[in-house]
Symmetry: C2
């Protein structure tokens, strides 16, 4: 492709080339990064940020800003260049010079927890567009909830730039299908159609008709044929996209990857590697760029910095609208402000029920349903649902309606059988940072389908709640494809994620108490609930279970203990039963409930030692899953009643019995450990 | 919907109703299962099995059979009913009466490792259709490789029944996009379009135009409007599908879920629960069914059992064709038979290179590339590729061309950025059971995107090789979204999966030696390779590393050891360096390399104890990832140099240094443990 020489440099061209060369030079200096996308997508990004995006660079937290997501996160320099040019304090020219270096604000991929003004963390492909669906869902919900015919306080767009990689990932298809179904009209995705991915031309693996696919999802689809130079067409397309409010819009913008680099543009070679001095020189000549590395022409900087003033006035206008709103609608205004504050209403946790052993044995998923429904009225910001297992996961907020097109104020979201998108959509809802507490539910085993999104919830300071049911072989007949064995261990291994596996009603209430508080603190919690009924145990309490691990029963001093039985979830009752038998035989036994390793390990050392005293080294863990990781509590001297193979299809009680989850077997294993 | 009373019962109707009532009664007896799909999909399944499917019920291993996949695996009774009626020995009427019971051949979901004649394990939605793509890919590859203009020995279709759930999952979209790109014309998917999923009508979450979507992928799309009764239309559609050989076909078959149950059909209530006695009675009346539970009218059984004779003669015909082929093409015939035998050629492992410390330091991904390319000529059954990271994963088999439409004989598969489908496609290739050794590659972190497929490889006796590179924070600048921390632990936790993290060239060769042998034994191995260069270590060897764990260096008796340093992968060199320093200071140190926990633990106890003697209780693990699980080797007295948080974006060497992966820090931590 021949790149036209720029004879007259309009300010637009200067801005666009500023973006390109900031990216080129930062990547060159770092000797690492992805110049192809920033160079090709600079025109669409410039038009979007310059003519359409509503934001205040000096107040990145302004609620009513448009949200921008670079789903093709490897093109991070595009976003950093835009942020620097637009006047964000978090990205200075020095920061850009420190691209991809230790401690800089310009990490390899956009990270919301590192760089103020970035909405969501991208890089793992397809997550960003699904986060965008979550952001748009949050906006739609809050708009339906708070806006009044005569007063609008929630009104922004969500813009996403995604690439071929994002579009190949299944998660993006799931999210797009959901968004189309829901008609999220204020979601606008710009697809950087550059027909190159890492392996070369998309001809080698990706020849589908993406536009037709988005049409099949119910999206409004547009095409800008020359995304390299036709700024007018980009602008018109975004305008048209904004005008269609009952469908999300996908604008396919055909571009040239690495636009302007005479030898490397339109090749995979420019996707993910620095250009090198020679090609930079040629690119400069080709684009008529005479500025020093990291130098931005004043004209361009002045033009783009108008965003500061523009944003301030947009925010001011909104502040007035909010003041008017509060004057007219005091209660709603106060509630809106509470949402934004991230604060929980006083006394919210008082609704969580407590239980005694006399209360009916119920599945913990049933207790979870109770908690969700007790919390629903006091926490109107609780919103979520299941990946098509609502009545198995028991996650319906009764009386709060289905979130659907025309009923966005409702709070039960039907995600469909789209676990991965559900995860990323919940992440987006939380990262809307408007106080919403999203939850997503499926069978525990299917966390495998959404693991990348769960990991991102832990990494990127999301406050979501993952409600997972059917948490062991106790789920029964569905068999090994549906029975978690290694699942809980693999989730406990994720940094920053709190995992709870409660044993009874009190422990479920405790799990919710912790999870809600953590959600408001931008931390995510995953809860694993049983399918089968479980007794309410003597010795459990909400308060104790909020410590993560505690003594369920013990009548002996630490130094005289023969063994500590440590159980979680449905197996804690076996520990209690075994302890009874062992004590009757003269053994000195303590039972410890350990619903959450992470929460237990966050307690002070004295407390931890009071529960698991160092002097009491003989321990047996009992959990219907792998022993992987339990060695940390049971050591070389201890043991585990566990499962080290896949499960089997049979009624749950039979499975548990066959795999050794009986009081008698726990007694026998305990005796082996005692020796 | 009014169901027409069957006044005259054709044999077809009897067969179809036999399927329905076997499902109804088996599920009723088990009080567990999913009758809705078998009842609605019985007509299409009957037509397919009766008129089209080529198979020999008495020889389920016959190579040239058509492959059948019930991607909507919850409808397993459909498949068991078909198998019983068609005369498979693995499913008797007694087996059907034991549906979903401990030890039966009729598990909750179809399981190839339990029930002879089932091709792949389904249940987790979307996997089956992606497995089907792998089966069709295997057929296309073998056909291109072995068939001659005058002699055809590879020639079968792959049929898949999938439902709304499968179609909502992202993995199915990835796989379908890939299949459309590749033009896999002998793949025929019947989509049971019953507009019901667990949460109710698909109207609540799934209103996309599925047919249009498949068209966008390049599929041939057909529609049977009345899949309940129009057998002729089903038949014509399958015929038309077979005739289009350059595109896969999706036949949307509109049906009524739970067809025939007057109160429950067309509702979510019949999706996943037994009908109950009352509704069964009404269904019997409605469908004019007067037979006892589990009774099949002779006419129906005799009709469907014709499959036995038909299959025998189809196989006989093929056996003749194979004999002719072997007569004409002795070498190819012998190779084909070796493929089917699952045997490796003599001396294959001799090509794996060994190294000495004088050899150049290289990234283990680079050694992996060498192994793949050494193996490629001696193992022509090795076929695979990367999810669009070919030149980062270094997985190209050089000189063996790209697998593409018109070039199916080639062996480099471009999966696109579709990790999850890649996993399931590789599973399907292996489960074609024709000797192929599939491999799939991406960055280690993105195993999170394909975890469900990796789990299924371990569960369902797949022999695949997962080639994962960029295995730690050492990957550097891409930052925490791309840096595995908990990833290796979470993979080690999966039963039946062998994980290797080699430290140098010899260990990479060992990993391939083990992985290839395991693949032929229908076991999967995941290998984690470094991005960065690593020295070849003194004391490593292929032979030792094939034991999973071994003594890299030790000049001391077990009882005098001060500490054992246990390292894997890129950190083993730190252990070696630290041991040198510690020994210089008078400490007695052993260095153990532990590239594969699973393989080490499969050695006899004496060997294990010789490496990690019980008397030497002070141990330090060194691995650039979480310590989760390492407690099993280091116990209460030991320690770990590990990472218990997410990574950071910076050059890899800086990341490793900042996170404590230096000889000096290993020395310091070792001293702490020694105390």
């Amino acid at each position: 492709m021949v790149v036209a020489t720029q004879s007259s440099k309009s300010v637009e061209e200067l801005c666009i080339n500023s973006i390109r060369f900031l990216a080129i030079e930062a990547i060159e200096k770092a000797k690492s990064g992805h110049p192809g996308l920033p160079m090709g997508a600079a025109p669409m990004a410039f038009v979007l940020w310059d003519k359409f995006m509503k934001f205040n660079p000096k107040n990145t937290k302004w609620f009513n800003r448009d949200r921008f997501v670079l789903s093709a996160g490897h093109g991070s320099m595009l976003q950093y260049a835009l942020m620097y040019l637009a006047g964000f304090d978090s990205v200075s020219i020095e920061d850009i010079q420190q691209f991809r270096q230790w401690g800089s604000s310009t990490a390899g991929h956009p990270e919301n927890f590192v760089t103020d003004g970035i909405e969501v963390t991208t890089g793992p492909l397809g997550q960003g567009i699904a986060n965008g669906v979550g952001l748009a869902l949050a906006e739609a919900h809050l708009a339906a909830k708070f806006n009044k015919p005569d007063a609008t306080i929630v009104d922004h767009y969500t813009y996403v730039i995604l690439g071929d990689g994002c579009n190949m990932e299944g998660i993006s298809g799931e999210a797009a299908s959901f968004a189309g179904h829901q008609g999220l009209g204020k979601l606008i995705a710009l697809y950087d159609d550059n027909h190159i991915s890492i392996d070369g031309s998309t001809d080698v693996a990706f020849t589908e008709d993406v536009s037709q696919r988005f049409e099949s999802y119910g999206w409004h689809v547009l095409h800008v044929e020359d995304g390299n130079t036709d700024l007018e067409a980009i602008s018109k397309a975004i305008e048209e996209a904004k005008s269609v409010t009952d469908k999300p819009t996908m604008i396919k913008v055909t571009t040239t990857i690495g636009y302007g680099a005479p030898n490397k543009q339109d090749t995979a070679g420019i996707h993910g590697a620095a250009l090198g001095a020679d090609e930079i020189k040629l690119t400069r000549e080709n684009l008529g760029w005479t500025y020093e590395p990291f130098e931005v022409p004043d004209e361009a900087l002045n033009h783009m910095r108008k965003a500061v003033e523009r944003g301030a006035s947009q925010e001011e206008e909104w502040n007035k609208a909010l003041a008017d709103y509060k004057a007219k609608y005091a209660d709603e205004g106060a509630e809106f402000e509470r949402y934004l504050s991230g604060k929980l209403p006083d006394g919210w946790a008082d609704v969580l029920p407590s239980y005694t052993p006399e209360d009916k044995a119920l599945a913990t998923r049933k207790h979870s349903e109770t908690c969700l429904n007790k919390l629903a009225p006091v926490l109107p910001e609780l919103i979520g649902g299941s990946a098509d297992l609502t009545h198995s996961n028991l996650t319906e907020l009764k009386g709060y309606g289905d979130f659907q097109k025309g009923a966005y104020q409702n709070r039960n979201v039907h995600f469909g059988v789209r676990e991965h998108a559900m995860g990323a959509i919940c992440n987006g809802m939380s990262l809307h940072r408007s106080g919403l507490i999203p939850y997503g539910a499926t069978f525990l085993i299917f966390t495998d389908y959404m693991r990348a999104a769960i990991r991102l919830s832990a990494l990127s300071e999301v406050g979501a709640i993952w409600v997972m049911t059917h948490d062991s072989i106790g789920q029964g007949e569905d068999g090994p494809t549906h029975q978690p064995i290694e699942t809980i261990a693999s989730l406990r291994a994720i940094p920053n994620l709190t995992v709870y596996r409660p044993a009874d009603g009190n422990e479920v209430s405790a799990a919710y108490k912790v999870a809600i508080a953590k959600a408001k603190n931008n931390e995510s919690t995953l809860m694993a609930f049983s399918r089968q009924g479980l007794p309410n145990l003597k010795g459990s309490s909400i308060e104790k279970a909020t410590k993560g691990g505690y003594i369920l029963s013990c009548g002996f001093a630490p130094e005289e203990l023969d063994i500590i039985l440590i159980g979680t979830g449905s197996e804690l009752q076996l520990c209690a039963g075994a302890a009874e038998k062992l004590i009757a035989e003269g053994k000195k036994v303590r039972v410890v409930s350990m619903p959450s390793w992470e929460v237990f390990e966050a307690q002070d050392e004295a407390y931890q030692d009071s529960v698991l005293p160092k002097v009491a080294g003989k321990r047996l863990s009992v959990e219907a899953g792998t022993s992987f990781g339990w060695e940390k509590y049971v050591g070389f001297e201890g043991g585990s009643v566990s499962i080290e193979r896949f499960g089997a299809s049979a009624p749950g009680a039979i499975c548990l019995e066959k795999f050794g989850f009986s009081v008698d077997n726990v007694v026998a294993k305990a005796k082996e450990v005692i020796g």
